[in-house]
Symmetry: C2
Subunit: 166 residues, 2 copies
DNA sequence: CCGCCTGGGTTGACACATCAACCAGACGCG
DNA sequence: CGCGTCTGGTTGATGTGTCAACCCAGGCGG
């Protein structure tokens, strides 16, 4: 064994960087997620929804808008919203246009107001500050390039939900 | 609304870079994962296990070794291994030492041999090549720094499973 | 010998994601 | 009108991850 992934596809330096990246990613993600979960009882998904709602003008959005800005598939969104409603973080309220609007509740607002600073502080400590301004700027650029590259590629041979929406 | 996450915690440039990174991450991950899943019927998790097994000397490892190298918690690993065994990708075989060894099967070996090149090619196309050698090297360094930083932080106040194992 | 801890591993309950199927209204077109 | 089809949204089945509890053997102090 030991030969399978060693084909000329990725040379040693590339392998190493890629694996460092993967590890960093997982480490950071699990750290942030566990922090949110344990200190505030919110999952990453909850957080994402609440951020979007709280950044909207009125604190209320249609589900498909959330679906657009989070890039979740609609069924995931639907399931998660019903769970969040059960926990009192959001409310689905009827409006004239047949489809319910998703509104953040007092409780949801309180939750995100409480946890956002702590979360941001962690992002700063473990990510932003370690990068430093110049390297961070570079990362931002490369990230956009990668998203664009994948988007371009998918225009031709992928199912619709991956394609760029911005 | 719109004020919650705008506290002085992350300034505009930082926000932007962070969100670009998050988006890139999600996009890349889902793209790679869907590719593996649709072309080869393997999940990212399956792939990770198979890579580890195929890179070992004998194609067989104890579960706790897998747990160390993947950094999964043991229950996740146990669940996933039983599922993989049901699908014929691995086998748990008894050995002298009370605990079973996890062995990759012919089928599992065939699966990873088939998909590894295609996967690596995609990593190259969408990640390695977009970065380019210099920026990629930088990313590798920063990644290691971040992992180290989180590791250091967790030595003092985190549950054991996050702490560095290398 | 006993009690107790620790390490490797499994199990069950539950939260979450994904897929395919479905529903209802709107829109277009013959 | 009748028909297909698109969009916004829900539902159920199934696969996956997480947490806490447990099991069992080995070691160790009494």
């Amino acid at each position: 064994m030991g030969f399978v992934t060693k084909e000329p596809w990725l040379d040693d330096d590339e392998q190493k960087a890629w694996r460092s990246y993967l590890l960093m990613n997982r480490t950071l993600e699990t750290h942030l997620e566990r922090h949110l979960q344990r200190e505030f009882g919110l999952s990453k998904s909850d957080f994402e929804i609440l951020v979007n709602l709280s950044e909207s003008e009125s604190g209320r959005m249609r589900a498909f808008e959330l679906s657009r800005s989070t890039q979740w598939e609609k069924s995931r969104l639907s399931h998660h919203l019903t769970r969040m409603e059960k926990r009192g973080l959001i409310r689905k309220e009827a409006c004239e246009s047949r489809y319910p609007e998703i509104a953040i509740t007092e409780q949801g607002l309180a939750a995100i107001k409480e946890c956002a600073p702590a979360h941001a502080a962690r992002v700063r400590e473990f990510f932003v500050d370690v990068f430093g301004p110049e390297r961070l700027a570079v990362l931002g650029e490369v990230s956009d390039e990668i998203v664009a590259t994948i988007g371009k590629h998918c225009d031709t041979d992928c199912p619709p939900e991956v394609r760029g929406t911005s």
